[in-house]
Every structure is written in structure tokens, then in C-alpha cells.
Symmetry: C2
């Protein structure tokens, strides 16, 4: 039992915590052979745990008296809430009492606390969140989607290396193609930061295909999309908003007369399938690449399935030794 | 006839030029009472004009021997192609031989040439492209969607003022609400540039609602979305790409079995209606606000309908004296 992967779950993070966090852990305990530790308010966690049926030896609880709110300033939360579920969970990682930490809480706070407590991998300047995104072809990796909004050329280059490693070891791409998100494909396009990053990545030995435009993200033109965290965050949120708005408009349109309504009912399962396929939350969690430890970030509006999927991702991350490979890849491309 | 609005159309700009440009002008000539001037290779233009039936006194042709390609570097094109359709068209505006210029060509080249030839309106530091975007509620204005990728706080503030004027005088919003695109609603979120812009806009006397997230663009949370041109461009392109990818996936899903297929056929008109509604190209053209002249930019993949709509937008822009009102609004908010 000692060599089981130990996964710490922030039970207090996310819009529907701790309920869905507990339920997700319970679901995972029924499928996977991991050691799960729920961190947070022990009373609240046990209230929900009591309602569930699960293998008792697979889930334990670790108390943390504080909780970082979703809107709280990241830096302040790290300084002031030493006993938050985020802090306590990461401390377990630091002290090697656990292998990986999952949180659906305040992303900024998780990034700041992880960087501070775990420190960064050798030569890494900034961590980046790598999200698996569904496309017309295979799922791809987009990095960074919100850890770093003050991106320098070197950060983008390191994202390319780390994203490639993730794509290779988790999505099994033998030689992942890397694209740099820009407003045009031509070399002359974009900000100075992007142009400089381009010259770095070109020399890296990665399978770099040059600039790609945002319209090519969902066609699956490349396996790894590299971008600044502000832009990556906007890409995800505009997709979410557009998917929501167009579905709403469609409903209105379909309700106008009978035939389209019948048509909608018949084709409903297909729409559900597609919404599920295009919903990146289904893919569970996004690792914070570059920190010296395994940290998986989940969407704030995660449900139990999303938490269960994050636990799956966390297990794979540890099993595949992603951090070890990132360090190797960074060394390799820096010696070129 | 002398007081008719004179609209110059770049006949050589866009992926399907000059055919759709000529056809769009012909369609517009049948509806509106404007004087239309097609600028470009006279032989090519007349080849298509000859095939059309239209009121001959409403369309004339002005020769330009050069053409700026879509991928050409903007600054170079301005310097080297003095006789391009873009240059010749803008020169007509400068010499008051025309009231407004429309191009579906290389956006960067149009922005650079307009800025150089027409100069900027009083106190304006950078022009911005204002696009009308469909939402769940009314259409809104998004500014900037690609003119300026080196955005300073003052530029964002001026976009807020210019976008408000456009929303008021073209979309008839009495007191347009303005939102600043950011990665979170909290004041603490975002880059230093955005934070500083926020304090400027707060003092402007505009109906400012603070930061908005990208997921709120299509819900119509505010009438004017202010953002950096790189971000605005990414927002549009990711929307385009996602709409395309999800439609493709849906088709595959629907073709899998019979009932969904029948359902799809019955509900098809509704899908078409919705795609049309969510397609910003339907809205015609986006003005380049801030230059001392009326310049309307169309999507590179414009069809004849899009060009016709751009001509409608161009006419309204001139009739409603948008530039005059922008200068007034800038004076007002600067004296506050």
C-alpha cells in the first residue's frame, strides 16, 4: 500500500465545494487505486463523506482551518492564510507526504502558493498552466492559460518545451508540433515579445511550425499552442461565452415553430455529445508546468465528474514522471 | 447630384477581389443613392462590371496600377506602392474628392496608409478598429480588433470614448455602457496597462461598468468592449474557429444515425439563422476610428453581401458625422 500514488485534493476550492470535491474523490476511489487525501474543513468534508459509499481505506481527511475565496488577491491570500486548504495541501507535497495536489480554487492563489512553496524546476523562469483542449483532430495542449500575464520571450520558449514534453508523455505524440499564437502567420506579424520568442523556439530543436492564428486552435493544426497567459485565458473564456450564447440563441430559434422543435428533439443526443466533446472541463485538470512538484488546476465551476477526471490526470502525471522529462528536455534544448 | 455621399471602394482588396467588390457595389447601387467609385485595375474591374446590370450614373471607376497583397508587410506596402488601390483611394479622401473609403484588403496596410495620409483626429494617439458584434441582447461595439498591438493606457481610454460615440450615433444607445476586457472582474486583476487604463476611464464621465471577462462579450453585458488590438483580434478569430469546428463536429455526429439526421434536416433553417446572426461579417464593415477621415475595414473573406453591407455602414458613418462627435466627446471628457 505504501507505493500507491498519494493525491491531495483541495476540498474547499471551486464554486461547489466541498460537495462536488468529496463526490469526485468518492467516484475516483471506486475506479482507481490511489490514496486520496481531502484537505479542508474536516466537519464540512465529513458531512458529505458520510453520505457516500466508498472504500474507506482509500480516502482520508486532513484538516485546514482556512479557505481562500475565489475573488481574493493571490499574493495576499498566500501571506495571510497560512492554514488554508491550498497552503496545507501544498505543504504536504513539499514534505513528500503526497505526490500531487489538485485544486479547483482561486487559480492565482494556487499559482502563487505553488511557486513559493515548491519553487520552480531547474532553469524555469515562470510556471505555465497547460490545458488539454478538444479539436477537430486530436486534443491539443495550450500553454499558458492563465498563470503568467507578464510574459517574456524566454517564458514562451520554455512553455514550448514544457508543453511538448506534456504532449509527448501524456498525449503520446511522438514529435509534437508546436505553434506560436499570433495575429498572423507571417514572421513580420505580432509584438516584439512574440517575434523574439519565435527566434528562440526556432533554435530549440522542437517540431516548430511557426505562428498560428486563433482560428486554427480548434482545427487541431498543431499539437501544442504556445501563448501568453492573458491571451490563453481570453481564448478559453470567449469560447465558453460563445458556446453558451449560440446555444441560447439556437433554443430561441428552435422554439419558434413546430418542425424545428421536433427536429431539435430528434437531434438532441448529437448536440449533447458535441457539447461534451468541446467542453474542456471534461478533460479534468490542467497541470501547472514548471513548478517543482505536481499541481493540477481544475475549473472553478467543476462538478464531481471534473474532479474525478482531475484525479485521473493527476495520477497519470505522476506515473509518467512528467516533471523529470521536462527537466531533461529543458537541458537538451538549452545545450543546442 | 453633387451632395450625394461619395464612397470609394478598394476593388482589389480581399480574398475574392475584384469580383465580389464589383458585385457588392452593383447591389448597393440598386438600393442606395450613393455615388460609388471603384478603385483598382480598370481592366479587371470593367470585366466584371460589364456582366452586371446597374444604374450607370452611380458607379464610376478610378484606375490604380498596384495592389497590396494580403500578407505584405504594412509599412513596406505604404512606402513602396504609391499607386496601390489603397493609396489612390485614400488620396481621394484627402483631396475631398470622396467622403469615405472602404477596403477588404490587408488591414495593416489600410491602417498604416490611413494614419499617414489622413492623419489622426485632434488629441487621438492611435486609431482603433470598432467592430459591431452580435450578442444575446443587442449588437455591441468591440474596439480595438486589430489596428494597434502596442496599446498604452491612454489608447484604451480613447477607445472607450470613441467606441461610446460610435455606439451612440450608429447603434442609437443613449448612454452606452463601457466594459474593459480583462481576465477577471476584480480591480486587482490584469496587467499594469489595463489597471492604469481603468483609472483613466473611471474619471472620463462615460457609463463605465468596470472590467468584464471574455465570457461576457457575447452575453451583451455592456454596449462597448474596450481591448488591446491583439486581444480583440484573437477574440474574433477564436470565435470564427470554434464556430467552424463545432459545426463540423456536429455534422459528423448527426450523420451517424438516421433519427438525428432527420432531426437535423428539420431544424436546419434555425441553425442557418443562428449562424447568420452570430456572423459578424453580416454586419458589413468596421470603421477605423480616430483617423481624420472615414475609413471602413471589411473582412478579408468578404462576399458581395458583406461589401454591400460595408457600403451601407459607410453611408451611415458619413451621414451621422461620427468623426465630428468623436472630437466633441474627446474634448468633453478631457476637460473633466
Amino acid at each position: 500500500m505504501d507505493d500507491k500514488i498519494r493525491i491531495v485534493i483541495d476540498a474547499m476550492g471551486g464554486d461547489r465545494a466541498p460537495r462536488v470535491n468529496v463526490e469526485g474523490a468518492v467516484q475516483a476511489a471506486q475506479i482507481y487505486d490511489y490514496q486520496l487525501i481531502l484537505v479542508g474543513d474536516v466537519k464540512k468534508i465529513e458531512k458529505f463523506l458520510k453520505l457516500c459509499d466508498y472504500p474507506k481505506d482509500k480516502i482520508s481527511v486532513m484538516h485546514a482551518s482556512q479557505k481562500v475565496d475565489m475573488g481574493e488577491a493571490a499574493a495576499v491570500s498566500v501571506r495571510k492564510k497560512k492554514d488554508s486548504s491550498i497552503s496545507v495541501g501544498l505543504q504536504m507535497l513539499k514534505e513528500k507526504q503526497a505526490d500531487v495536489f489538485i485544486s479547483a480554487g482561486n487559480t492565482g492563489a494556487v499559482v502563487a502558493a505553488s511557486t513559493l512553496k515548491l519553487r520552480l524546476l531547474q532553469t524555469v523562469e515562470r510556471p505555465g498552466i497547460a490545458l488539454v483542449v478538444p479539436t477537430l483532430k486530436d486534443p491539443i495542449v495550450m500553454i499558458d492559460v492563465g498563470a503568467n500575464i507578464d510574459t517574456k520571450p524566454l517564458h514562451l520558449y520554455q512553455y514550448a518545451v514544457m508543453g511538448s514534453a506534456y504532449s509527448h508523455y501524456i498525449l503520446n505524440k511522438s514529435k509534437p508540433s508546436v505553434g506560436l499564437l499570433n495575429i498572423g502567420e507571417e514572421e513580420s506579424k505580432g509584438t516584439d515579445i512574440i517575434k523574439e520568442a519565435r527566434t528562440f523556439i526556432e533554435k530549440s530543436g522542437l517540431n516548430f511550425i511557426g505562428n498560428i492564428e486563433a482560428r486554427d486552435i480548434y482545427t487541431g493544426k498543431c499539437d501544442v499552442v504556445v501563448c501568453d497567459g492573458f491571451i490563453g485565458n481570453v481564448v478559453l473564456k470567449v469560447t465558453e461565452g460563445f458556446a453558451h450564447a449560440s446555444t441560447e440563441m439556437l433554443k430561441r430559434e428552435l422554439n419558434r415553430s413546430l418542425l424545428p422543435k421536433i427536429g431539435a428533439i430528434l437531434s438532441l443526443p448529437a448536440y449533447r455529445a458535441i457539447r461534451k466533446k468541446m467542453d474542456y472541463r471534461e478533460y479534468g485538470g490542467a497541470p501547472l508546468l514548471g513548478v517543482d512538484g505536481a499541481v493540477i488546476i481544475s475549473h472553478g465551476s467543476s462538478n464531481a465528474t471534473a474532479i474525478r477526471n482531475a484525479i485521473r490526470v493527476a495520477g497519470e502525471y505522476v506515473k509518467n514522471k512528467v516533471n523529470f522529462h521536462i527537466v531533461e528536455k529543458l537541458k537538451m534544448s538549452e545545450s543546442m
